[in-house]
Assembly symmetry: C2
């Protein structure tokens, strides 16, 4: 709490490890506070209080509240994309890759529920600035899923009459829908695991190149 | 603009047709303004300006800004549920019923894009009050979809190893994901129609009781 709350906003470019820890602490606090009060209703002083730092300290690391949110996105979506790409490379089949993506997306949500709420809630805020910023990263995330599906089409395991982008969007949306309603309902991790398994089964049955035989 | 902006807040219970029109005009204006600026950043005076009424007029019909948003939800989700139930009753098979639900959810979005953004964006705001209020109506909407799937299981056209609630949640989420990314991307109605068709095909292939035959 050594910093003055009146210190003028500025941005440090290179940071020592201790400084990096404090930045992380502020981001983690912001995730909690945004999830609790929503982005718009949160004040910078709320984040400072949760992080146990002076208000001015926030401005040593971030330009403003928008910058805090953008940093959360940047940090988490990039990390998610890295994890996805590493895991996808370790799988042998398209079906396995898609199951792994589902587990990762819902698994992260399960372990970091506050974070999940920030990502889903705030991705949809109407701030034009945030939309412009978040969209390319989000599209990159969808692109990873779409490329797995396109690879499946090339190898013949995925039906060719569906757009990989459309399939990726509906997968993201379906998982997001499960996560949102799971959070609104009981939030029991066992139920989320069951949901992940059933979704993977549904989704693969829909995508697999064998024609669906409706027994009506 | 005859009303005084200083008029004390009160709520009319029974309204004449002209009054009802004004209430509708305020709701329609609010849909536009919320979509543009987001709920939190919108002031009651912004809604009044868009609707062409004095600020005080808003308070003749609504307690506050929260009440305007709740009224939008109440009005639109109830209307959507009524339309769904009527259309579902007119279909002969589960597959048809599900295709109709998909068309209605995306069709409404296509015709009322501002409204779609309000419903998807604001359903996920972190206002506890809104969540508490919106959740029962939203669950009722999901319940309509789940009951179509459960009926399909009873008649044998839908596989029995998937929870109707889970299938309904992933359907809502998948459609929501398509609508959100469609709005972020080009917003071309033709693309949304193609997406609706492909999603219906994917989703039904996933749900149909014939076992998926993966040709790996």
């Amino acid at each position: 709490m050594a910093e003055s709350a009146k210190k003028a906003p500025r941005r440090t470019k290179s940071r020592a490890p201790a400084s990096r820890d404090k930045r992380e602490r502020i981001l983690a606090a912001a995730v909690k506070v945004f999830a609790k009060h929503g982005f718009y209703a949160t004040r910078v002083s709320d984040i400072a209080r949760e992080a146990g730092v002076a208000d001015g300290t926030i401005y040593l690391y971030f330009k403003n509240k928008d910058d805090v949110l953008i940093s959360i996105f940047d940090d988490r979506i990039r990390r998610l994309i890295e994890v996805l790409q590493r895991e996808i490379a370790s799988c042998d089949t398209t079906e396995e890759r898609l199951r792994r993506i589902i587990e990762i997306q819902l698994g992260l949500l399960e372990e970091e529920r506050d974070l999940a709420e920030v990502v889903t809630v705030n991705l949809r805020q109407s701030s034009r600035m945030l939309k412009q910023y978040a969209t390319p990263l989000f599209m990159e995330y969808l692109g990873v899923i779409a490329s797995v599906i396109a690879d499946g089409q090339r190898e013949g395991s995925v039906r060719s009459d569906v757009s990989p982008r459309l399939a990726a969007r509906s997968m993201w949306g379906g998982l997001d829908g499960i996560a949102v309603t799971w959070a609104l309902a009981d939030g029991d991790p066992a139920n989320l695991r069951t949901a992940a398994k059933q979704f993977a089964s549904l989704y693969w049955a829909g995508l697999a190149s064998a024609p669906a035989q409706n027994p009506r």
